[in-house]
Structure formats: structure tokens, C-alpha cells
Amino acid sequence: MMTSTALVLLMTPALGFFYGGMVGTKNVLNTILMSFTTLGYTLVAWALVAYSLAFSPGNAIIGDLRWAFLKGIDLAGSQPLGPTIAHVVYMAFQATFAIITVALISGGIVSRMRVKGYLLFITLWVICIYGPIAHWVWGGGWLGAMGALDFAGGTVVHVNAGMAALAAALVLGNRTNHGRQAFLPGNVPFVLLGAGLLWFGWFGFNGGSAVASNKYAALAFTNTFLAPGACMVVWSMLDLTRTGKVTAMGVATAIVVGLVAITPASGFVPPFWGLVLGGLAALPSYYVILWRARTRVDESLDVFAGHAVGGATGAILTGVFAVKAWNGAADGLIAGNPHQVVIQAIAVAGAAAYSFCGTFALLKIIGLVTSLRASTQEEALGMDPTQHGEEAYTSGEGAILVLPDAGPEPSLEAAEARA
């Protein structure tokens, strides 16, 4: 479990590179930092409050505060959801999920959000939105009680993040030149690097979600390998038929969409169906990305298409392909239990609705306290120099060292005297 925690942790910097490569060079630091800062702000909010709200028994809607401020989180198996591991490790493992979920949202709002508002947002969102939804599905809430299957977070992490990104993009508004100017990726190799590291980390995400080293972990681990591969094959063939080219951005996106889709299903479906699920998942996300680019909505890096659509596809297909003989929990449609598909759809709809409305309201409230949106001039210069006072790729030319004692002004006489 500790190894899995470390693997999932790596996914957040990886996501930073995945997103950072997709923006221009004057916004790359800001975009990567939008992921990195969750490792501080979201983590602290999680440890102090959100973990307890999500994973303590509480009621059907939300947990209580018994484990707030890390009180009572010990080295024994006192967390009923992880009785065989130290409670501290369970809290840490789940923290990595909360962190990456928040980081995912940033893809919808790159290159235009002020830092103060963002830091406030990532601190409060994990408490107000992630905590309740994680509780509904995993912490003893109403969706879990209804029998919704979500092995590693298709609904809790991906549908949730995708809907939140859409809501955030609507609150923030479009980038100034959206629809008039092409926003091209500044560093496609970063995108591929990020996708590769995400895949690596995802073995901990899905495998670790068995919360034990057992056969379910083995199934989830293998499905995490198979589904993205199948998704990449289908996606690149769609690319090939549409444009005649297999694209690097397409391959990187397909890996992530395949991973998103297998997430809820990984410990529930037999490996053959995991492969099929990964392939099928390419279709809706591929076409939603094409469609989104033609709309007026600047949900910049397609978190909705990749994660909300991909996560919903995976969650519903979990209800189709689940086999009780493999997962010890429930059968799906192909094993003769069509009702599971309905339960899955309710879980997706419930989480999507709360995430969208909650995120919209939260950002509106934060907007009353501090201005969320960078000015047009700040946008023109880029978020890196205006928000962080740094540039990703410095030349050193024209940079004058600021020293406490600047010394005398340069004079021609002094230069001649030296010579």
C-alpha cells in the first residue's frame, strides 16, 4: 500500500507535465504549478478535515469529524475500510486520490486564473466537493449502499473532476483570444512524458485500490495495462481514418482516456472485457473532443471529454462487463444483471450533478473574496511572469542582477583609467 501511495503521488507531477506541454511557453510554469500546488494545499486540507468527512462512518451524505486534525488516525487497522493496514497509510493513500482529482480540474482553466483564487479553490474544493462524493461511493454513503461499483474512482475522481473543470471554465470565462487564435501545444514531448508517467503511477491507483495484496489487486493491475493499450489502438485508427496521420497528442490522450475508463472497472471485469472496455472508451471521448473544439466553451485541455465522458463510459461499462466470479462483489449485464447498469448510471448522474453545481457555486463565492480572473494585459504577457515572476525558458539576456549596493555608475573615464 505504501508503494501504491508513492506511485499515485507521482501521477500529480506527471499530470503537470501532461497539461504543461499542451499550453504555450509563457504559461507552462503556471500550468505545471497548478498540479504541483495541490501537493501542498490540497494535502493539508485533506489531512486536517477532508479525510474525516470522506472516510469516517457519519451518515449517508457525509462523514463526521472524528478523524479531523489527524486525531485517532493510528498505526492499527482502525479504519474499517482497510482493516489489514495501518490507518495512517490508508489516509495517505486516499490523500493521493484527492490531490490528483483537484489537479485534474486545472486543465479546464489554464492560462487565465490568478494564483490566490486558485490556491483558495484547491483548498476548499477538496473539503466541499471531493469529501462528500468520496463518502457517497466509498465511505459508507448512499451510492455505495445502493451497490454502485467504482473500483478506483471512475465516478469519484474522473466524472467529478471532469464536471468540475467544465463548471470552472464557465465561471472563469474563455481565454481572451479563444475562437480567434489557435492555442497550440508548446511542448508535445512533455505531453508524452506526462502520459507515460501517468500510466506508470496508475498501477498504484488501480492496483492499490484493492487495499490489499490479493487477487483483486492482480486483476486491477492487469486491466490497467490492457485497457489503455486497446484505447490507443482504436484512437489512433480513428485518427488515421479521419486525417491520415497518427498523432502524438492522440496517442498521449488515448492512454489517459483508456486509464480513466478502466479505473472504475479494473477490479471488477475479466481481462478480456477490460481490453474491450478500453477500446470502446475511445469512441465517445474522441468525438466529444472534436465537438468541444467547435463550441464556444473554452474548457481548454478537454478534462470534460477525457475524464467526465471517459469516466462515465467506464462506470457504465463496469455495469455491463462485471462478473461476480472474478470480483466477488456483483454481476453486470453480460452476466445476467442488467439492473447494475441502472445503478451505475445513477451514481454517475448523482456525482456529476453535485460536482458541477457545487464547483460553480464554490467558485462564485471565492470570486467574491478575491478576483479569479487575470486581466487582459496579464494574459497577454502570460501567467508565468505575471503570477510567478519567473519564466520557463530564460535566455539571461536583458536580465540585470539586482544587488543591494549597486556601486558607482559606469563612466568612460573609469574605463579609460583601467585600460
Binding site: 483570444n177 480567434r180 487564435q181 494585459q377 497577454a380 504577457l381 511572469p385 515572476g389 519567473e390 519564466e391 530564460t394 535566455s395 539576456e397 536583458g398 536580465a399 540585470i400 542582477l401 539586482v402
Partner: protein, 118 residues
């Protein structure tokens, strides 16, 4: 003929290109340059090192035009590149002694008139 040299903000390049296209200015070159035009200096900090950044990214347009095109070209650039903040750039209009089109050997006004325009 004149050579119009315009220094503009990088984020205004698209607007300038669009404006030039609208007034039928078709031949141009552009290059990325660094310059200083009285903007407020920007301070950046990297760990303990603080620097003032004096040079800003700009884009330089070079456009060879016949005399009666000068005014519309200048007006198009000025309208498109203006933000009213210090750092919008400059436009220089320079006399040109001689122009040749390499492909045909045409000279002067003929050489700066796009193919197919009377």
C-alpha cells in the same frame, strides 16, 4: 517605395496580420526580437537571485510597399497593435533605393506589387 518596419507586441501579431490582410497588404517578413521601449521593468526571482528584466519580447514586421500603400499599412498596424499601455511598439517608414523581385527581375513598384494585382 518605402520599407515599413513595425515593432509590436507578440500577442498582437495575429491581429496585425489580420488587419494587413484586410487592407490587402500581402508581402511581409516578421522576426522575433528583444527590445526595450520604456516599459516598466519586470522583476523576477529565482531562489535567491533577483533580476530586473529590461528586454521584452517583440515582433518586428518588415513590409516593402509602394508609396500609395504606406498610409493604409501604417493605419492598419496602428489600429491592430494598440493597447494604450506603454510597450505597444513603433512604426518606422524608411525610403527604399531599389527593389528587385528575384524570380522575375522586376524592379521597384512592380516588385512590391503582388502577382495578380493590377
Amino acid at each position: 517605395m518605402k520599407l515599413i518596419v513595425a515593432i509590436v507586441r507578440p500577442d498582437k501579431v495575429n491581429d496585425v496580420l489580420e488587419a494587413l490582410y484586410r487592407v490587402k497588404v500581402r508581402g511581409l517578413s516578421l522576426s522575433r526580437v528583444q527590445g526595450h521601449g520604456g516599459e516598466l521593468e519586470r522583476v523576477e526571482t529565482y531562489r535567491g537571485t533577483t533580476v530586473k528584466v529590461d528586454l521584452n519580447e517583440k515582433v518586428r514586421f518588415e513590409i516593402g510597399v509602394s508609396d500609395h500603400f504606406v498610409e493604409r499599412t501604417v493605419r492598419a498596424i496602428m489600429a491592430a497593435a494598440r493597447t494604450d499601455e506603454v510597450g505597444d511598439g513603433k512604426i518606422f517608414v524608411l525610403p527604399v533605393e531599389k527593389v528587385y523581385r528575384i524570380r522575375t527581375g522586376e524592379e521597384d513598384t512592380d516588385a512590391v506589387t503582388p502577382v495578380g494585382v493590377a
